[in-house]
């Protein structure tokens, strides 16, 4: 069942595409940030998937059974960090969007030529 074995890879690529598309093609700034979140989630999926082991369990030792088959804890640690980085970026991005709304009155089409010269 090669197709199913590759399933997580498929979803990783598709999610990446969806998120990346939103970042590039969507004009609304909040939407761009959402796209960024989806984009990052795809990467989370990549890391978590690569650390799983067939027949394994979560890397938490129950009842001192150190001999069991465990999934790899390292990618999970990395993704914990990455999730936190993601939310930090989102918060900062949203704060900037709020300020843009306040000073431009809109949150899309901010590249339009402006008569900003003598602001």
């Amino acid at each position: 069942m090669l197709a199913l074995d590759l399933f997580n890879s498929w979803i990783f690529v598709l999610l990446l595409m969806v998120g990346f598309y939103a970042v590039i093609a969507r004009d609304n700034l909040v939407k761009k940030l959402m796209g960024l979140s989806i984009f990052q989630s795809a990467v989370f999926l990549l890391f978590i998937t690569m650390g799983t082991v067939t027949g394994g369990t979560a890397p938490i030792v129950l009842g001192d059974d150190w001999g069991a088959v465990f999934s790899n804890p390292l990618p999970q640690v990395l993704i914990l960090t990455a999730i936190v980085v993601g939310i930090s970026t989102l918060a900062l991005g949203l704060a900037i969007v709020v300020r843009i709304k306040e000073s431009y009155g809109r949150i899309s089409d901010i590249d339009a030529p402006e008569r900003d010269r003598r602001l």
Binding site: V13, F20, R26, M34, M50, G51, I60
Partner: protein, 328 residues
Amino acid sequence: MTSLLTVFLLVLALITALGVVRARNLFAAVMLMGIFSLLMAAVFLLLDAPDVALTEAAVGAGISTVLLLSAMALTAEEELAGGIHPTPALAVVLVTAAVIFYGMFEKPLVGDPEAPVNTHLAPQFFELTREQMEIPNVVTAVLASFRGYDTLGEVIVVLTAAIGVLFLIGPDAPQGSRAPSGGNLAGGGLKHHQPLRIVGKIAIPFILLFAFYVQYHGEYSPGGGFQAGALLAAGIILFGLLEGREAAAAVIPTRVLKAMAAGGALVFGGVGVVTLLMGGQFLEYRVLLDHPVSAQQLGIVVIEVGVGVTVSGVLLLIYHAFAARGRG
């Protein structure tokens, strides 16, 4: 070992993500984002990553939804028609995807215990955790000790976000010209919805209790400072949503939150400085006590507290900054 349930959840997640991109109503998009995060959390749980699942649920579905909603209250709920030209974007995205196909689709990612990723370092992590730390949650061991420096960095990232949000829309930031909004969900609270308040009041103590459990039980079961901090913040934010921001600010004043945000990071870094002064490397916990195993455990507990304090402080600071914006 891709179970059918995983397949189902992933397909659902993909559809939700498409929905997020397509939805013109941003409020709907935010809700879909929350659902997307929950689905991802469930997938992570099925992929043997309970810690990540817990974090994704608390942060992705909880905190980021609140943040998006608060921001939206200050900006707009509808996306204007027409984005930028979609064709070049599609081209870029397709090329990226094609490149990944070229590289990654020779063998499956999942499950191979003999893959280098699972044979090189992972066994040593288990072995050393068993020998030198004696804690069952190896994720916590790696997070707090083996890669404690990364985690310090992560705490600092969170702190940076708080600094940024305060700098941009905090009380000292330039005030916007916008008139106070009537429907600021995050700021005004839902005081007129009695049933919600009652349910909420019952739920909040449990959330807080769960937060403390997650904090102090992180070595034994999924959880740790991040999750606990996020949960604690979520509880108080929920209180703020029900009773209004001022009420939440009365529970923990912003001054204290700021001290928490900075203090947690300082506690974490302080542990490093102490180990350094005691003759070890930076963050080498085993020099803290005579008994190396207890020393490792002590170090982990202390820094996890630091993480929890900073994360909760930061998330609440950010919440307050958004909620207070536009209402003076």
